[in-house]
């Protein structure tokens, strides 16, 4: 990671703090590019424990993009929030695209399953979950944030607790309840 890019990020954050909303958009685009290329790198490596790498993804991006020594806590928090929003959008877009591919156009000959059985199997419908999370936001914004950080951001409960200034047990309780509510919404959609 070049020093220039880190400076660019710091600058964008500062502009944002000064009230320039355009800078936030640019920051998001930057994070987006970085996350994509990083994810691509992971995929190219053989025999890597993806699970480990993925949970570190956001933190990794943070270190790579962000000059931590130069920033205060609020900057870091803002950066993480942005990164996770970007990640959420990325995943939902991807899931949507996959949905679109799967949908079998009517009146068209479709020999065989045009559908991936493994990826489809038991998979959470990320798009539906995203919609449900938007609904949750209106009912319980704190709970929704916890879900977003955990499910879309890949943060651990400790990290979330620290990030949001809550106790770990609160985070866990919120997660347990909101998770069930969301899944229940999905079941309803299915039926």
């Amino acid at each position: 990671m070049t020093h220039d890019r880190k400076q660019e990020v710091t600058q964008l954050l500062n502009q944002f703090k000064d009230g320039d909303s355009q800078s936030n958009t640019e920051l998001m685009a930057l994070i987006y590019r970085e996350l994509r290329s990083f994810a691509g790198n992971i995929l190219k490596q053989e025999n890597q424990t993806i699970t480990f790498q993925a949970t570190e993804l956001v933190n990794e991006a943070y270190f790579r993009l962000f000059d931590s020594s130069a920033a205060d806590w609020n900057d870091r928090k803002h950066f993480l929030s942005s990164a996770i929003v970007v990640m959420r959008r990325l995943l939902v877009d991807h899931a949507r695209k996959k949905h679109a591919q799967r949908r079998i156009p009517k009146n068209q000959q479709t020999p065989f399953e045009a559908v991936s059985a493994i990826t489809e199997s038991l998979d959470l419908d990320v798009v539906a979950l995203n919609d449900a999370l938007d609904d949750l936001e209106k009912l319980d914004s704190r709970g929704a944030k916890i879900v977003e950080l955990r499910f879309f951001g890949g943060l651990s409960e400790d990290e979330i607790a620290q990030f949001m200034g809550l106790s770990r047990s609160t985070v866990n309780r919120e997660w347990q309840a909101c998770k069930l509510w969301l899944l229940h919404q999905l079941c309803d959609h299915d039926a």
């Binding site: 020999p111 399953e113 038991l122 009912l139």
Partner: protein
Amino acid sequence: MTPEQFALMKEVLLAAQELPADQQQAYVHKACGDDQALIKAVLSMLQVKESTWAQAIEQPAIVRHLNESKRQEELPELAVGDQIHTYTIVKKIGTGGMGHVYAAQQQYPAERQVALKLIKKSPNQKYLINEIQILASLNHPNIATLYEINQTEQGQTYIAMELVEGLDMISWCQQRQCSQAQRIRLFLQLCQGIAYAHEKGIIHCDIKPSNVLVTEVSGAPVVKVIDFGVSQFQDQLAEDNSISGTPSYMAPEVMQSQAKPLADTRRDIYAMGVLLRKFLDDVPLNQDFQAIIDRATAAQPDARYGAVLSLRDDIHRFFDRRPISARPHTWTYLSGLFIKRRLGVVLFSLALLATVVAGYWAQRQQAQLATEQAQKAQLAQAEAEEMATFLTDLFNVANPEKGRESAVTAQQLLHNAKDQLLAVEQPTLSDARFMHTIGSILTRMDQFADAEALIQQSLAVKQRLLPANHEEIISGLSQLGLIHRKTLDYVQAENTLLATIELAQTQEPVNLDQLAYAHNHLGNVYNQTRQPAKAIEQHLAAIALRQQLGDRKHLADSYNNLGVAYRQQKDWSATAKHMNQALDIYLEVYDADHPFIAAIKHNLAYVEEQGFNWDVADQMLKQAITTWREAYGPIHSNTLIGITNQVLYFQRRLRFAETVPILLDVIDHLAAEGAVEKQADFLSHLGRSQAHLGQVEPAHEAHIRSLQLIEGLALQDTQLPAKLHYRFAESLLELAEYEAAADQVKHSQQALSKLPSEHNLHLYLNNLLAKVKSRQGDGAAAKALFQSVLAHNKPDNTRNQTEQVTALLGLGRVHRTLFELEEATEVLLRALALNVQVNGDAHKTNGLIHAELGLVFHDLEQPERAENHLKMALRIQQRALPAKHPDLLATEHSMTQLGLAMAE
């Protein structure tokens, strides 16, 4: 929901979670007060906790996403034109969980298009490849065939399957806006396929719309289940505990299971239930059907149907308006169905028959006891008559599932009824009517002797008490004609039916229905005595009347019978046209596996054979026999006709080995029933197959046994001994035992001594004997015999003309061997012209004649003409005959001898 309500819900949910499972429900009820919606929501959320989704959400989306992407990257990819063993990739048709799917062309062992699936590598695949070979044994019209599972040298595993060009079942029906009945018929096909596989112990494990395709075969929709057992294979390949399948089609026990769940038929049944519900989504369902779906998709596996066939049976019952097993029986429910059933498809009901028979006797005694109650009794009698009509209808259609089991008892019951009726002194008109009813039922059950006695007696009473042309007498006469025809007494049948028609025409007004019925039966008599011109006349008369009456079902019967007549005239296009007219109507009014539809398929099979559509003919015959066997039992006359035609077809295609188990099985059944005549008949077919397989001893045994069986018996089929002898003769000719063959021909001739010498059977026997003589090298005797056939030329009789062709061809051969080349040319060209006229250009005998002509012209030193004829012969025979047919081999041999190239 408001944020406040949400907060409350969260509290209750979290508190309930802490409690042991058995206390949760009570707590939730207490905590929520009377907010029913909240109670319901919380309880269902507590259930969600156990689902696989609850596990899935614990894993961050990004991890899953990366895992997936990585998996996709690993899937091997091929380009158009790439080669995998014997397959060449044509195009990519999809991507599945296991890998990409391609359409590929195979050259060897068969030239065909296949669907080729490539499977990602896995350490235990070699072991599994052996396991999965069993899938290749699935051979069913509703299952896409798995051709091969194999591995390339590079360790790439692939599966080659039948390529199905079609739409998934749901889209197919949406596109055509299919009715509920049409959809259910398709679903029943799915049941057949799955039941077949389950019987073999193979579970699909991933039944869903995209795995159930509909394709069209000869214009009819055929369901093809693809990817059978593949998903199980895939599960076993997976290194983790992941299972494949589609959540909404997955049985709860599979969803919840921690370890890999066992494959179980009820897993498929669940998915079929979900599919059925989805499939009938846009049609309103009645209670019965809902009950069927509910039972198939019960959460507890034990509460589901135990087998696909039970599901199928329930759907059939629903169709037939009989009680379904998924609903408990109550009296009102049963009687409600009883009424509906009367209006719709009628089915055999033993209990009902018993009630009517018992009721009739009670009522009769009552009438005798009290004359003042006569009027009341008459009312009861009117009811009984109506019941009688109903009962006769019942027997028209045997219950495909249950008819056979109860038929034994029903037969006994009817037999008793017959004895009681015939013992009645001074029978009344109502007795006569009951005799007619029971007689008609017995006819349907092939109990001709009992039936005839009853009908004769009934007619005698009616002729005494009713006007001569009364419709009841006419219907009795028609019935008698039918019995005569069924017992092969064609002379009596023709006379009876001609008299019936004459009598019916004197009615005022004429009962068109009865008249049509008599014309139809007479037409069938002519069909069976091979007088197609007369048959066509009668059937056209019946058709005109039935069109006038708007009687669709019987109109379809007549179209079929007309088709049979045209078939005898070898007018294939007229045959196909009329039979398809019949099929169209039948498909409207009956279930797809109705015996009448089987009858048409059986008949069309022969037409397909003439068009060289071997596979279609094969399938149609098989389907017809299966249906008949299920509906009527293994030795019903229809089933036996189907089997005979299948055996003859296989013999024509040189598939002798396949006929042996079929024949042994049917002979067993016949022996068990003591049906000696038929047993002898089938034994002689067996002998013929064995002779062609070179099994000298068994062939002799079979033929001799067949003759011994009928020795000294009074036979229904008077021509049977002659047939047994000449079939023996044919086998002996095949085995090159010429003296013995000649002997058998002579026996056969003696057995037919009552028939005039110009009868087709005698011509056939003379031709056969001539062939024997000519093989023995006795040219003079052969010539004389062939000429005796030619002396009886009847140009309007197709069977006679076939014998003429055989005689001309045989004579031509004899002339050639005697170097009478000009005579040979003349006779053979006559044979060719006649056969083209009778059987068309492409007929296999033309091949034989051309080949013979080729040799004659070779001897005449006209090499160009020789070559032309031989090439013509080869072309015809390659189409019309199976590979390695002796006639084809002979032609090829001649060409090699003459130094001609085989390929054009």
